[in-house]
Amino acid sequence: DVKVTQSSRYLVKRTGEKVFLECVQDMDHENMFWYRQDPGLGLRLIYFSYDVKMKEKGDIPEGYSVSREKKERFSLILESASTNQTSMYLCASMELSRGLYEQYFGPGTRLTVT
């Protein structure tokens, strides 16, 4: 079974704090993703990575950065948290299975910035 774990289920931070969200997958997948999920907006892609030390911007990268030093770990960094970054953050890894590219999601981190 593929497992994608995220470091926290719930997180409360103050405006201006630096926030690290960690994601680890145990299936040696090359592609990993960070999304934020907001009601009515679905999942919006923040960043993705297709290899160690490689990263690509998604649709809403502003205010975020990422780090992929090891294949199994993909970190999302909020350099200076703001209240509009309060959201559910979902990490995913992706593999080719039965001819389909399937993303496996972690349980999510609900971040509240006060």
């Binding site: 993703f33 892609l45 992706m94 999510g108």
Partner: protein, 111 residues
């Protein structure tokens, strides 16, 4: 601006009925179209997917219909059951390096 537009935002269907969710896209480079199902408190999970070389794919009660010329695709859930109540997301990707999701449809199947 969302690259994949999904409708309706919410849907209520009687048990045994057909649920239909629609998606549209603009980027003709998209070459893979999955649907994900998400239950409360869980991350989305792959339900069914299609590539643009076929117009329909069926897996059990779930069918994707794909119209390449209209740049639209839809999910049909036949004989809808209360256990199907969840949020459904369509998505599209290009070269399998990224994935763009629709806004989601909250499906409620009434017993």
């Amino acid at each position: 601006q969302q690259q994949v537009k999904q409708s309706p935002q919410s849907l209520i269907v009687q048990k045994g009925g057909i649920s239909i969710i629609n998606c549209a896209y603009e980027n003709t480079a998209f070459d893979y179209f999955p649907w994900y199902q998400q239950f409360p408190g869980k991350g989305p999970a792959l339900l069914i997917a299609i590539r643009p070389d076929v117009s329909e794919k069926k897996e059990g009660r779930f069918t994707i219909s794909f119209n390449k010329s209209a740049k639209q695709f839809s999910l049909h859930i036949m004989d809808s059951q209360p256990g199907d109540s969840a949020t459904y997301f369509c998505a599209a990707s290009q070269n399998n390096n990224d994935m763009r999701f629709g806004a989601g449809t909250r499906l409620t199947v009434k017993p």
